[in-house]
């Protein structure tokens, strides 16, 4: 383990050393772009092949929760950018504060995601043996007329979709497999990011970061913003399909 800000033998200056560390993170992010890109590719092909099933699947997601999570995650990117800035300026208390804020917002995102996943279990929308697209419309007791109407409309839409696509259930399971695969992989990246943040917070409490040495904050920031970008694409693709119908 090297000491804070120590210059390695292969570099001429600390600035060059930091430049190379940043470049390394960017190159890692290129591999991440292609890693997620494969999933986005799979999503595109299947959505194009089964638009009705993907529309039905997308409409089961809670737009309020998804939208709230988008706001939370972008806010966490702002606090992360501010943490990097505080490190560049050597404002030690601010570094810790902004890192903790980022960690809390990241935790909130994962919490909301957990609520959404639980809802999908309750609604029998987990791909597998007990997958049932009609579960919600058949097992909800409407509390008032408005809810009764919306349930009837949902049921009618499902009937029409099943007429158009007899294998709607299989194709909707493809949608949900991709939904859980893509958001799950994204959540895993968030968990890794949270681990990195805890590691950074520990070091920042020891006053390790300042204008002379802040490479870990900078490269973790790059990673965190990248994870934000993945969500920026996931949100419209998964939540906003066929909302206008």
């Amino acid at each position: 383990m090297h000491r804070t800000g120590e210059l390695y033998g292969q570099f001429e200056t600390l600035e060059q050393q930091k430049d190379i560390a940043t470049l390394g993170m960017w190159i890692f992010l290129v591999t991440e772009v292609l890693f997620f890109g494969g999933l986005f590719m799979t999503y595109t092909i299947n959505r194009h092949a089964y638009p009705a099933a993907f529309g039905i699947g997308g409409n089961t997601l809670d737009l309020k929760l998804g939208g709230a999570n988008t706001v939370i995650l972008i806010m966490s990117s702002l606090t992360m950018a501010m943490a990097v800035r505080a490190a560049q300026l050597g404002k030690k208390k601010q570094i810790t504060g902004f890192l903790i804020a980022t960690l809390i917002l990241g935790g909130a995102f994962l919490g909301v995601k957990a609520i959404e996943y639980k809802q999908k279990f309750d609604h029998h929308l987990i791909p597998g043996k007990s997958f049932d697209l009609r579960y919600v419309t058949e097992h909800t007791q409407p509390k008032d007329d408005a809810e009764r109407l919306s349930l009837a409309k949902e049921k009618e839409e499902l009937d029409q979709a099943f007429e158009k696509d007899p294998y709607l259930s299989s194709h909707a399971q493809l949608y949900f497999s991709l939904y859980f695969g893509m958001t799950g992989l994204h959540a895993l990246h968030m968990i890794v990011g949270a681990g990195l943040l805890i590691w950074l917070i520990k070091q920042s409490l020891g006053g390790r970061f300042g204008p002379g040495y802040n490479t870990p904050v900078e490269v973790t920031g790059l990673y965190w913003h990248f994870v934000d970008i993945v969500w920026i694409y996931l949100f419209p693709l998964l939540y906003l399909i066929d909302r206008h119908n």
């Binding site: 290129v30 772009v33 702002l78 950018a81 560049q88 920026i232 419209p236 206008h244």
Partner: protein, 108 residues
């Protein structure tokens, strides 16, 4: 060190722009645009991603070497998406064949 340090005002401005874009993408999803819905959604997402890369990730103030890495990422992703899609979109039977349920029907 000669690194660029952005002002908090700029960061908050970018955050607000991202919020406006998020509202716009939700709003646009409820407008009937047919095939253009997905184009609008992806255009807004790309605008948001560009803002994050340029300002939050400091790409705007980074050396040309970093720009090259970013352009490579987009280029390779483009190759994967474009070449795969040209294949899928010109084989009209593929959509049926990759369906698990229709595979069962065909073998029965």
């Amino acid at each position: 060190m000669s690194e660029h340090i952005a002002s908090p005002k700029l960061y908050v401005g970018i955050f607000l722009a991202l919020m406006v874009c998020t509202a716009a993408t939700v709003g646009a999803a409820y407008v009937k645009l047919g095939a253009m819905n997905i184009v609008v959604a992806l255009a807004i997402a790309t605008l948001k991603a560009t803002l994050v890369v340029l300002f939050f990730m400091h790409a705007k103030y980074s050396p040309k070497r970093t720009h090259l890495v970013i352009i490579c990422a987009i280029f390779w992703l483009g190759i994967m998406l474009a070449l795969t899609l040209t294949d899928y979109e010109t084989r009209h039977d593929v959509g049926r064949q990759i369906s698990p349920s229709s595979a069962i029907v065909q073998s029965a």
